[in-house]
């Protein structure tokens, strides 16, 4: 094959350079779009669409869930009457607008109720009305610490502020008899300063006066290591108080004496050859009050208060919250990726429900059983 002439080589070089420049330009455009324009777009979007509008879109997402639900024609008509938009009858936009900026008058629902024959329909619509009025309430601006409940079988409430407690960090817990409120924090104003104190004080407040009753101060040899608490729990009889601290400690306090009694000092874990503390994330007393369940980032420990022995109970780590059901028969734990429910103390019927891949539940931080034990509420990030 003959060698290409110099002109042909130059032509190929020029084409190659052009192609390379094109690729670079394309990459620059993509990078601009991805990293610069998108940010500008987000900023502009936030300016253009205030919070109410974004909630409207959230409302639309919510309504998408009930879109397939059979809308009674009268319901749809009345929904449309309330809506001031020219959106199509019963459309997502009309309903979303309702969910965000409108509230449904009680008298409107009366004729609607009459047309609904199935109880299930009524239930769904009452939920929807609650959500709509709830959303509307959020738009009403400051209420100075007072708001009232809505249309529900549960009675409405009003809140009256009775106390403001400063120099606290949390967590907190009411005693089982309701006579005391324990809050982890700092030394209160006016208290005599203590050397090396770094915030590890438990303030005991008398209820209902909300007067400071006692201060639980760790012994001097422990003060340095008690900075921030992660969890606090009273024993079921109220005689003991367990506090889980950062650094891998759980302190036990005798409430009758107001004295520290003992500490569970968890062993160090090893990560890549380096010793690290087993950070405590949650503590809970067993229903009989004889053991303390301690969750850490690596595993769950069971601390027997009679034998003073502690052993690992569960090799699941990363638990953010532990809780017992009100009757003490069940035990719940939550991680950002799963929810565990087991019978206590046997551990039978252990069910681990994975959250992974289910964006509605990731990550989860909080857990609570309903008073009747039938429902378990978990707290996460609302998508």
């Amino acid at each position: 094959m003959p060698a290409p002439a110099a002109a042909t080589r130059r032509w190929f070089a020029a084409v190659g350079a052009l192609l390379a420049a094109g690729v670079l330009a394309f990459g620059a455009v993509v990078a601009y779009y991805r990293f610069i324009w998108e940010e500008k777009y987000k900023e502009g979007r936030d300016k253009l669409f205030p919070v109410a509008e974004r909630r409207l879109r959230d409302g639309a997402r919510w309504l998408r869930l009930v879109r397939g639900y059979p809308l009674d024609s009268e319901v749809a008509l009345r929904l449309f009457e309330i809506d001031a938009l020219d959106a199509p009858l019963g459309s997502e936009a009309a309903l979303a607008r309702l969910a965000v900026v409108g509230s449904v008058p009680e008298q409107l629902w009366e004729p609607v109720k009459a047309t609904l024959e199935q109880k299930e329909l009524l239930r769904r619509y009452s939920e929807m009305a609650g959500a709509i009025s709830g959303a509307a309430e959020q738009q009403q601006g400051p209420q100075h610490g007072a708001a009232t409940g809505g249309a529900s079988a549960v009675p409405k409430i009003e809140l009256t502020r009775v106390a403001t407690i400063r120099r606290v960090r949390g967590p907190m817990s009411f005693s089982p008899d309701g006579q005391r409120l324990a809050i982890v924090g700092h030394l209160p104003e006016g208290a005599a300063p203590r050397p090396h104190m770094r915030g590890g004080v438990i303030q005991m407040w008398r209820v209902p006066e909300f007067k400071l009753d006692t201060l639980l101060v760790p012994p001097p040899e422990l003060i340095l290591s008690r900075k921030a608490a992660r969890s606090i729990a009273f024993s079921p009889d109220g005689r003991l108080l367990a506090v889980g601290w950062e650094g891998g400690f759980v302190d036990l306090w005798d409430m009758a004496e107001g004295q520290w009694t003992r500490t569970l000092d968890l062993p160090l874990a090893t990560i890549r050859g380096h010793p690290v503390p087993l950070e405590v994330t949650s503590v809970a007393f067993s229903p009989d009050g004889r053991r303390v369940v301690v969750a850490t980032w690596r595993d769950v420990w069971l601390w027997d208060l009679e034998s003073r022995e502690a052993s690992t109970m569960l090799n699941k780590g990363g638990i953010d919250k532990l809780a017992f059901s009100p009757n003490g028969a069940l035990f719940g734990a939550i991680d950002e990726r799963w929810l565990l429910v087991a019978e206590w103390p046997t551990g039978k019927a252990t069910r681990v429900t994975g959250f992974l891949g289910d964006t509605r539940f990731a990550p989860a931080y909080a857990l609570a059983f309903s008073p009747d034990g039938s429902t378990l509420a978990t707290g996460s990030v609302v998508p």
């Binding site: 959230d58 009452s126 709830g134 549960v154 949390g170 907190m172 209902p208 069910r351 978990t378 609302v382």
Partner: protein, 104 residues
């Protein structure tokens, strides 16, 4: 909101608080049920909420930026919230506010 019986039977049955009922992006830090009633107190990075079936109420609390912990007395009479409160010209302050809960 998980059905506990269904969980124990190995089913994954739940209902959840959906956008529209609850602002998107809310990060829930703590939960507590009121005793003897189906009312849930919710501490979050957007403030403090209570929820009864079908309804969520956002409580506008002066200065509250984030609510971290919520506690309810065993008789349901008092409720305490620990959170981050704004102060004009000063750093935000962590404090606890206690309310008496009055039922109508």
């Amino acid at each position: 909101m998980w059905d506990v019986r269904a969980l124990l039977e190995g089913q994954k049955r739940y209902s959840y608080v959906v956008p529209g009922e609850f602002s998107a992006g809310v990060k829930v830090f703590d939960l507590a049920y009121f005793p003897k009633e189906d009312r849930l107190a919710i501490a979050s990075d957007q403030g403090f909420y209570t929820r009864v079936p079908g309804r969520i109420t956002h409580w506008t609390i002066e200065g509250l930026k984030e609510a971290w912990h919520v506690g309810i007395s065993p008789d349901g009479r008092f409720m305490a919230v620990i959170g981050n409160f704004e102060r004009r010209g000063l750093r935000a302050e962590t404090k606890a506010v206690v309310w008496e809960v009055l039922r109508k």
